[in-house]
């Protein structure tokens, strides 16, 4: 087991690009090695040790690495980007691109996550106890696939375009989602505990379950009757009909 504890040295206004905060990058490294890993503060190249206090106990492979982040990381982007294993526990807020392209391991956030959390995620687990902003588990500009695997859980709310271009994996949002959740869903599963609007537009595959209210339904779904999922009765829709999509949209009756 290798435990790495990270705390901010000062309040940040400019976002730090810190894809090096990842079990894969820390594995087997000493405190000094980790402190000297490169991060970018705007156009200024600096080191992790320059911006954060870092403590390391033990040593291990990526799967054995546990990164504990204490404090406000709302200006630290790309934490856990591309990680394949291990654990990151963030006891505060985080900036954009949390766990982007990750394929394994687990990230937990006690606070809120900014946009693009779990972007193009392939596997692993992200749990956000607060809110997530825009483009939760989405794709990158122009790509046809966003999230492909893994699981994202948000205990609070999320904003627009959650699960955009999802090709696989699961997103669970306890609270509300903004507009166009699951837009262009190509095979992922999205469950929204609260309310949303215009869900499932252009979906071709996959499932979206909405346990709250849908403010505005897209006029592109065919009502197939009602169906019970886990003991709850939903209106079952198929669509988006424009592309003869085979998506399933369940909305609480």
């Amino acid at each position: 087991m290798q435990t790495v504890t990270i705390k901010p040295k000062s309040e940040l206004t400019i976002s730090v690009e810190a894809e090096n905060i990842s079990p894969d990058k820390f594995a087997g490294k000493s405190e000094k090695d980790i402190q000297s890993l490169e991060v970018w503060l705007g156009n200024h190249k600096t080191t992790l040790g320059d911006l954060f206090t870092i403590k390391v106990e033990g040593i291990g492979t990526a799967a054995d690495v546990k990164i504990v982040m204490e404090g406000n990381f709302s200006r630290v982007k790309r934490i856990g980007e591309g990680m394949t294993a291990g654990l990151i526990m963030i006891k505060g807020d985080v900036d954009m691109h949390l766990g982007a392209k990750m394929s394994g391991g687990k990230i937990t956030v006690a606070g809120n996550a900014d946009s693009w959390a779990g972007r193009e995620m392939k596997g692993g687990d992200i749990i956000i106890e607060g809110n997530a902003a825009y483009y939760l588990g989405s794709g990158y500009r122009g790509e046809s696939c966003g999230m492909r695997g893994g699981k994202i859980t948000v205990l609070g709310n999320t904003l627009d375009f959650a699960g955009e271009h999802m090709c696989g994996g699961e997103i669970y949002v306890n609270g509300n989602a903004g507009i166009l959740a699951g837009i262009s869903n190509n095979g992922g599963k999205i469950v929204i505990g609260g309310n949303t609007s215009r869900p499932g537009s252009e979906m071709s595959k996959g499932t979206i379950i909405i346990k709250g209210k849908v403010d505005e339904m897209m006029p592109v779904f065919k009502l197939e009757g009602t169906e019970a999922v886990d003991g709850v009765t939903y209106n079952k829709y198929t669509g988006d009909v424009i592309g003869n999509g085979k998506g399933l949209l369940y909305v609480l009756v």
């Binding site: 897209m218 006029p219 592109v220 009909v241």
Partner: protein, 433 residues
Amino acid sequence: MTTEITDALCPFCGCNCDDITVVVDNNRITGVKHACRVGTAKIMGHHRIETPMMRADKKSEFKKVSYDEAIEGAARMLAMSKRPLLYGWASALCEVHKKGILLAEEMGAIIDNTATVCHGPSTLAVHEKGLPSSTLGQIKNRADVVVFWGSNPVHAHPRHMGRYSVFTKGFFQEKGRRGRKVIVVDVRKTETASMADEFVQVQQGSDYLVISAMRAILSGHADVVPDSAGGVQKEQLVKLVDTLKGAKFCGIFFGMGLTQSISRYKNIDNAISLTTELNSFTKCVIMPMRGHYNVAGFGQVCSWETGFATAVDFARGAPYYNPGETAANDLLMRKETDAAMIIAGDAGAHFPADSVRHLAKIPVVQIDPYWNATTEVSNIVIPVAVCGIEVEGTAYRMDGVSLRYRKMIEPTLSTDVEVLERITERVKELRGV
């Protein structure tokens, strides 16, 4: 001595009219023919900033300084910055854009243009769906159905309908206006809507639903479409789809009604899909009504130089692009920007209060011929010659056709290119590159 310049180009809107006659008397423009009111006003000119100005804090008055002092001050301000923003560019020529991108590279800056509050979302939609479009002459020669969706050319592009889309005659459209059906889709009954053959009034923010309903109808799924969508009766939508399908050539022109309302770029994404799908039945093209005469040019230059159309972040030496993260308002709203250069665009007037509030707090250098709202939040103001009137160079029309602007009169001030070259040289020295 009075001379007349014919076939001159208008440096105002994305129509880039190239049939203007300008009367010049003793290096002064004394008359403009063929241009619209907006173009005439721009070409005839306004009150100008005459010399560079500086001030230590934003609340004090400006002091007149030399170009040398202003450029030195600007370079020092920018060289110190960790998150500089270079914003504007729409009223400048492509030659200026190239210099701007080079400066952004040298400084590790973010460069963004006014499309970010205009057709930036259209670019995001093009990433999703492409852009089935054409040059404007295709509309002129062929279109028998013309749709203005969330755009109001009577106000924003006064000669568009006359030159390209509605009243003009063309090879296959000998009757001009009488041979075309004009449809306006908008929230308000605008002056353009009043001139249309059909007005489709949508509920504000509901264009996305309307377009999806039309696509469902077009693909033979009218049965799932409810009685009304986005405030428009299904009956009218069915009729509208029939009209578009039945066209020989249909041109759709969209504006801020789609880019700025809720759903943002997904509105355009959806409209592009509608256009693509209409091509199974007829010929249909779609085009953004670009605002400034060279806002499109910045997108072109930035794309070939960096690979990305706008909102490019050079902080790490290689271009990175992600509007929502790297666009001007994203950064200003998050208060990340620590110095800004605003050039050929007026962030002070056209950004939301929160963004302007941040601009008011950080060092700002402005490069512009005119005193505007950005001047009010600037520390250093460097006046320049007016591109397209006093400076020659390239601009791109809304349909992507590039045109060369000739000089109408000789400039009396430095040009954007000269100022940027000097700032870049000095920034390089200061940053020790």
